[in-house]
Each structure stands twice: as C-alpha cells, then as structure tokens.
C-alpha cells in the first residue's frame, strides 16, 4: 500500500547512507510534493544487501528555489518510499 497520496507534502531523508542508494544528494533534507505514483519497484539499496523487496516509488516535485536558493523551475525526482518522510507542518 502506498503511504503517500498525490498532493502530499514530503521531505527527502537527510543524511548520507552507507552504500548504494538512488536518493540524489541534492534533494536530501528538502521538502517537495508527490505528483505521481509510479507503482512498486524493487528497492536497490536493500537488493544489494540481499533483501529483495518492492515498495512504492513516487515522483516528487521540488521547487528550484528550495534546492538552490534561486530559480523558477521545478525538479521532479523519482524516489522510493523509504527515502521519504512526512513533511514537518
């Protein structure tokens, strides 16, 4: 079951995990909005440690101003559910 719905505000987890991840550095710790649900896909971080488990992947839209301090564009990044937490109110 998908934990987040389209429109939800989320935060990409901060920090720097050991090993392979597909959470790009430039969005870590930043807030964005779920804009699409891509269905469930195998989580690469765990697969490399021998655990095969699929979980929801979301398209998360970040404002350039939040990421870079400037810019009017948006960046949409596809993130596994484990990479996300609910945004602070």
């Amino acid at each position: 079951m998908a934990r987040f719905a389209v429109g939800a505000r989320v935060r990409a987890r901060p920090g720097d995990p050991d090993g392979h991840t597909r959470l790009p550095r430039y969005v870590r710790g930043h807030q964005g909005e779920i804009v699409d649900d891509h269905g469930s896909w195998q989580l690469p971080d765990e697969a490399l440690r021998g655990t095969i488990r699929a979980e929801p992947v979301y398209a998360v839209r970040f404002a350039a101003r939040d990421l870079w301090g400037a810019g009017s564009h948006s960046v949409i990044v596809d993130l596994w559910e484990s990479y996300l937490e609910e945004a602070a109110q």
């Binding site: 392979h20 550095r25 697969a47």
Partner: protein
C-alpha cells in the same frame, strides 16, 4: 552529480553514442553479461559508484563501465582460473602464451 557546479558548457554537438569501437564493445559485453544475469543493474551502478571519486571524474563514460565490469567479475570470481595470467601451467615461460 546533480547540481554540482564547474563542469562547463554542455557540448550539444557531442552526438555519437559511441566515440570509439572499444566503447561499443564494452556496451556489448555489458549487455551479454546482463542477459546472462552475471550481475544486476543495481550491482552495475553500485560498482560504477564505488570507483574512487578522483578516478571517476578522470574517466570517460565507458571507461567507468569497463572498470565496473572488471571489478564485478573479479569480486564474483566469475573469471577465476580462466584469466590469461593464471592459466597455461607449463607454457607460462613461453612468451607468446604469457601474453605480456
């Protein structure tokens, strides 16, 4: 890589997917090994990311692929006993067989 500054302009005319014959051969070898399930796409990406950063930045795209293939095949011992440096027992002193 995303957002990192200082890489200069995008060479928009830099078109050919493969700029040398060996690059195409690395891509073909990678595809063959993937079809054989010698490693997963995640393992391949991870191997590329484990290249030390200074080397990573100094290498071309397909040099990184080649290094990742060498790394994965060695780690998984898929070539064990088949490398030119380790076979050929009695012929090891033969210059041609040793292959430099």
């Amino acid at each position: 890589m995303g957002g990192q500054a200082g890489f200069g302009p995008v060479l928009a005319g830099d078109e050919p997917p493969f700029q040398a014959d060996w690059e195409m051969r690395v891509a073909a070898l990678t595809m063959a090994l993937r079809l054989r399930e010698a490693f997963t796409g995640d393992e391949f990406r991870d191997a590329i990311e484990r290249i030390p950063p200074a080397d990573y930045l100094a290498m071309s795209y397909y040099e990184r692929w080649l290094r990742a293939l060498e790394l994965l095949l060695a780690e998984k011992e898929l070539l064990a006993g088949h490398g030119p440096a380790t076979g050929h027992g009695a012929a090891a002193g033969d210059g041609e067989a040793a292959g430099g």
